[in-house]
């Protein structure tokens, strides 16, 4: 399916190189040069360059995939930032905790069981999917999507994955299948946040998420197995995670071990924790604020250093309204946030 490139998404985040060097010259002229500008990887506190090298990622390897989305006008978030700025409370609540604490996660073998209202329940060998996808005709594709966190920051990520709908079809959902209930790995020995409520932010694990059947079958919804051309790093939800680009990031459940098709709306982790703050649908909606911050705009995590932060307006359905607004045409989105 073609993802339309839209004018309003052309927010070029690029700053001309000349501006970077100009500022550096001024700072150097003030004699602040050595202290403020020096540092490992050449980038300084006030410099405009992305500070971090891509961390040597544990066990990531190159993937073969098809570039199906057209040349994207979106400016990609640098890989190093995608790898070191994560929410994955199973490894701690700080943004750098997942990167620091997840590298030892055992990824092989990994099975994803699909059960409930399906004619053919079964287990999916995830590595077979990753390595042998092409043989079965189920091609891995690259999808460049915006990712909007409920905390009002956003990234642009080149995911690699496969449409969830294509996978579900193999298990033949029955007519009773109205919703999907997803579950993350529960393994306290590997996930410190599951051992201790303090480390895990007081969440009851395993992390669970849900989608309505039509949302799951929508062609924009993918199960991702990689990003930036390689398999996923643990902190990004390796080896397989959900990506629903028009919903807040917490819907994108990571390191999935189970998908259950069900008749009734399943419970979801953040909704159980604070129902007034996080709904089941969690569609990106600038008109409905989080009780503790505005959702009208977002801080864009993109190229550049500490002082090149930018904000942009948040778009309804994260900019995918043309494709998905129809799914909710009869619903009051202020009520079903």
């Amino acid at each position: 399916m073609l993802i339309k490139a839209k004018k309003n998404l052309l927010e070029s985040a690029l700053t001309p190189e000349s501006v970077y060097s100009e500022r550096r010259t001024i700072l150097k002229g003030l004699g602040l040069g050595s202290l403020l500008l020096a540092g490992p990887s050449q980038a300084g506190f006030f410099s405009k360059e992305a500070p971090v090298e891509v961390p040597a990622a544990a066990k990531r390897h190159a993937l073969q995939y098809e570039k199906t989305s057209p040349a994207s006008p979106l400016v990609l978030t640098p890989e190093s930032k995608i790898l070191t700025h994560n929410n994955f409370y199973e490894f701690g609540t700080g943004k750098t905790d997942p990167f620091k604490n997840s590298q030892g996660l055992e990824l092989e073998p990994w099975t994803l069981s699909v059960e409930g209202e399906v004619a053919k329940p079964g287990k999916l060998d995830v590595w077979e999917l990753i390595n042998g996808a092409q043989k079965k005709g189920a091609q891995l594709e690259e999808r460049i999507y915006r990712m909007r966190c409920v905390e009002a920051w956003s990234m642009v990520i080149p995911w690699i994955g496969i449409e969830l709908g294509q996978i579900l079809k193999q298990f033949e959902p029955t007519s009773k299948a109205k919703y999907l209930a997803f579950e993350t790995l529960y393994d306290p020995e590997q996930m410190p946040g599951q051992q201790s409520r303090r480390i895990g932010g007081g969440i009851d694990y395993p992390y669970v998420e849900g989608l309505r059947m039509d949302e799951a079958m929508h062609p924009l919804t993918i199960l991702s197995v990689g990003l930036y051309g390689k398999t996923l790093a643990p902190q990004n939800g390796a080896p397989i995670r959900l990506v629903v680009p028009w919903k807040y990031g917490f819907k994108g459940i990571k390191s999935i071990v189970k998908i259950r098709l069900v008749e009734k709306m399943p419970p979801t982790t953040w909704n159980m924790l604070a129902a007034k703050e996080y709904g089941f649908y969690a569609n990106v909606n600038p008109a409905v604020d989080h009780p503790r911050w505005s959702q009208g705009s977002e801080r864009v995590i993109t190229e550049g250093g500490l002082f090149s932060a930018k904000r942009q307006k948040t778009l309804p359905f994260n900019g995918y309204a043309d494709e998905v607004a129809g799914l909710y045409s009869n619903m009051n989105l202020k009520q079903w946030y």
């Binding site: 971090v52 609540t93 750098t96 969440i203 009208g296």
Partner: protein, 199 residues
Amino acid sequence: MSLKKVFALALHIGVHLAALLPLVWLFWAVPAGELGGDPVEELIHFLGLGALRLLLLSLLIAPLVKYLQIAALFKLRRPLGLWAYTWASLHFFAWLALDLVFEWGLIAEEIIKRSYILLGFSLWLILSALALTSLPRLMRAMKGKWQTLHWWIYPAAIMGCIHFWWSLKSGWFEPAVYLLITLVLIALRKKKLLGATAR
């Protein structure tokens, strides 16, 4: 110099170093990626937590003087309070400059609408008043009123803990520990506080 004085001087230098060195460290840590690829949130947390710790340390001084009988320690309160204010202001600035990127309309809206931000902001205003009136000239001019104003440090500390609590998306453990410490520190000065407010 008596031993007690040497001890007090060493502590004085220690306070300045303890408050300054972490800030210097940031100039290395941010570019080195120590706070992650996008350090904004970690930076806000680091500075907020530092401000609260320094604030509580300043409240620890009076009980310490009482139990250790070293009056010279009183001199640490001023630098601790001013450093707490510095860290709190940097915390505020990081939010203004790096998170909301000086979008004044949004900033005003957030301060008014979000109770944890409003609380943090009110607390920062209190600290501003306390920092300003710690100028020696103002101190002298204010006489007895100075002490009355500076009792506000106690409500400020409680507000800091609640601001911390409300800022969390989930969990409560850490702010609860800070609140408990604050309440203990207040309890240690119960008599003085009751006397002051009764006047």
